[in-house]
């Protein structure tokens, strides 16, 4: 009963936030001006009839409440209109770019969480050793390093000077299929993923380390040790699972932000993902595209937060009772 109420509360909270984002999105993009004006600014000779037809097509002749209902309906159906820039459906434009981004940011998030956690655990468990000092210094350095700069250094070294990896793009221009294609995509992915992994890694390592250090001072860890449990077992069974919670939350949040793309890294590596699309859409005042990306990334963050909250409740029942 308790847990059902807990879930319900969080789902309601998430739904409320999403509705707010929807309303905000609706108002924001109507506050910037008449879409017809924006759409036709480059067409010099558009007669009033053509304009009226366009207004009807865009549905902006209806009263505002009706427009909002239509907007909600369209959003539910995944219809986001047409890009001003290309004239193609927004859904199509975004779905083309979403996979490269998911691949890039997703892979980097998984790798950075994995290595970050391992480094954090080792650092905390061997506190004060050369590894701990070194990894803490490294994590802090990587954490505070501007990603774009790091990307540039890796680009110059591995693409320019050594020529091991391509300097940009998602795939080569040769028509490849099957395994060759997979390898080709992986080659293009390597440097941007490496940059992002190094960029995200520090945060995971630092949080894991401090969380584990805290847990190591807890009584149950001392008790386990006193019972004569082997050091490795204490770490694996008692300390790490309890210390994972904050890192776990961070991982969920990071996943939520995947859809926001990695604007700077995609720019540096000329990687055709959502980040680049966002940049271009803003550059061209392509409101339908910006609106859809804005909504999608907000929804992803809200959804992942919800997932984190719910799972957290199960991992740590104390939260549910609070």
């Amino acid at each position: 009963m308790q847990s059902r109420r807990y879930i319900f509360r969080h789902v309601l909270h998430a739904a409320g936030t999403l509705l707010f984002v929807l309303a905000f999105n609706f108002v924001l993009f109507r506050a910037v001006g008449d879409p017809v004006e924006l759409l036709t600014r480059s067409t010099l000779h558009l007669d009033p009839q053509e304009k009226a037809a366009l207004r009807e097509e865009l549905g902006i002749d209806d009263p505002i409440p009706q427009q909002f209902v239509n907007y909600l309906g369209d959003t539910m159906r995944g219809e986001f209109g047409y890009s001003f820039m290309s004239g193609r459906p927004v859904t199509e434009t975004i779905s083309e770019k979403i996979w490269p981004t998911l691949l890039l940011v997703g892979t980097a998030t998984i790798l950075s969480a994995l290595f970050g956690i391992l480094i954090g655990i080792k650092g905390a468990w061997q506190r004060g050793t050369a590894f701990d000092t070194g990894s803490l210094f490294g994590s802090l350095t990587l954490y505070s390093m501007p990603e774009g700069w790091l990307g540039m250094i890796l680009l110059i070294t591995f693409a320019g000077v050594l020529g091991w990896f391509p300097a940009g793009g998602y795939e080569s221009t040769d028509p490849l299929t099957g395994f060759e294609h997979v390898l080709d995509v992986a080659r293009h992915l390597f440097l941007p993923v490496l940059t992002l992994t190094l960029g995200y890694l520090g945060e995971f390592a630092i949080i894991m380390r401090s969380s584990l250090l805290e847990v190591m001072r807890e009584d149950f860890v001392q008790t386990a040790r006193a019972k004569g449990v082997r050091d490795k077992e204490v770490r694996r069974r008692h300390a790490v699972p309890n210390a994972l919670l904050p890192t776990f939350t961070l991982a969920f949040y990071s996943v939520g932000f995947i859809l926001g793309g990695a604007v700077i890294i995609e720019e540096v590596f000329s990687y055709p993902g959502l980040g680049q699309l966002t940049y271009q859409a803003i550059d061209n005042l392509d409101y339908p595209v910006i609106q859809a990306i804005f909504l999608l990334s907000s929804a992803a963050v809200i959804f992942c937060n919800l997932l984190a909250d719910i799972t957290y409740g199960y991992l740590d029942p104390r939260i549910k009772e609070a």
């Binding site: 304009k51 050594l162 391509p166 940009g168 793009g169 490849l176 050091d231 000329s270």
Partner: protein, 611 residues
Amino acid sequence: MRRTRRAWLVMGLATVVLAGLAGPGFAQSASPEAEKVTLHIGTGEDINSANPFKAFNTSDYEVLLMNYNMLYGFSAKDLSPVPELTTGCEPSTDHMTWTCDIRDDVFWQDGEKLTAQDIAFTYQLIVDKDLGFFADYLPFNPTFTAPDDTTLVWKAEEPTLAPTVPPYIPILPEHIWGRFAGKDVSVKELEAYEPVPLIGSGPFQLTEWEPGQFWRMEAVDDHFFGDPTIDEVVYHVYTSDEGMVQALKSGEIDYAYDLTPTLARSLESDSDIKVFQEAADYHTNLAFNFGGQAKAYPAVYGGQPDKEETNHPAIHDHAVRLAIAHAIDKQAIVDTVFQGAAVPADTFIAPDKVFWHLDIPSDQEYDFNIDEANQILDDAGYTERTADGVRIDPKSGEPLDFEILTITNSRGSVKTGELMAGWMEQIGIKFDLKPVTDSKAGVDWKYGTFDAYVWSWGGDPDPDFNMSIYTTDQCLGWSDGCYSNPQLDEIYQEQRREFDRDARRDLVNEYQRLYYEDIPEISIAYPETVSAYRTDGFEGWVNSPTQGGAPIFAWRVDSYMNLKPVTAGGATAADEGGMSTGLLLGLGALVLIAIVAYVVMNRRRSEEDEA
């Protein structure tokens, strides 16, 4: 022991994966496509559209140039008109009818024959549908007919030399575009048509386009321009200049177009790379807004504008514009904003148009002189100042506080604005800078809600278009700020009817002189494009125009037709890639051995500790 074996296994696998990923040679050598001769070009600008009517950026125009033919092209020497699809056009004595002989050896890329009717169709379509950029090349309500396959008749309501200006219009196949000719077909439908592969009559064909990544132009067999050695050109889109430079260094691309000058200079030490500056073909400007958009609005857009224009009345005072002109240090802008890769500008016709460009002698130029600028304003009665030291317009009582748009995605605009604001402060004028994207500036432009902007203008080899910008008719057309001067209007019309090239040049010069004196805008700099290419990949680059022009992204396809792979001596880029793969294998293995050894030893130690 078991652990050690596992570690070796992991190490082996990782080495294989890394070796597979690294080095450019792997995938390409395995592909049958490798036998093709491919020229790889890097650029920062993707195609905007595959629809010729939506072409506006340099990349779009390169596709038009390669994929289609025009009635007249541009000469290699000085870009003057030379016959392309025609063998020549003859005017009637009144210059209202032109008759052109059309070549009969030209075919569309789908095998159909190109006839005079295709040309008549294309031009008529543009006139009937009033298609923006292109319609301006076809003045005085013309009609186009093709009495037979090799004759085009162009009739205008007034004498014109438009056919030989020449119109920069790609000729389209009627058998494909004919469906859009009807009155019931809207411009929107026409513009939504984006066929790839594109069917044209040019020596190359756009066969593939991955937006944001690359596009591919394949050579056409048996073209009347000749038979190029290269089979295809692939254009790679780079969103970072640094990425493009690194790709050039590693040999992924053969040519890097339009680089940041400082970055390009870093390539100069590479013996296999040639860096060069091409003559400027556009100018940057500070364009003033004279107001009048609201009046022109109903005729252009229908209805009334939603916003009121906000232009400052003092912009109309020549003394204010003159003072501003004296307070701009063009050389400083060239040196700092364009890092030396530009020339201070006088007029709107860039110096690469050698025949038309008017060079204002240096003793007649507005020299950079803050004292003189202050004196001009004092003499004109702008002596009162606000508490902040900003001069007050005696007529309107408003301080000389101007809203200046700088364009964030136009090269050098924002920095130029910042420099100017500093100089203006010294003469009691405030430049209130508003950095916006070009799209947003377009909205301000439409309503006249700005006082001036820092932007740029390019143009055709013929000056007609650029001259039209400053005419009264162009308010909410091509005009920046609805400038109007009857004298300029008159000269503009006169040169349109002057059929003697030298006499026309006199008129064009007179126009430029008046433009310089009346200051509808201030020409600031002619920025030069800095590009670089590898010398070990291809040879035979041809500039157009020959003197100071660019080998590609220019006015002719000579480079593409003439390029040949470098065969003699030296390693090609692909070979270097192969070497680095081997090097990597060794290095990768070493690094992994070190890591695994460390982990294994560490584990043993901790196990011993625990035991």
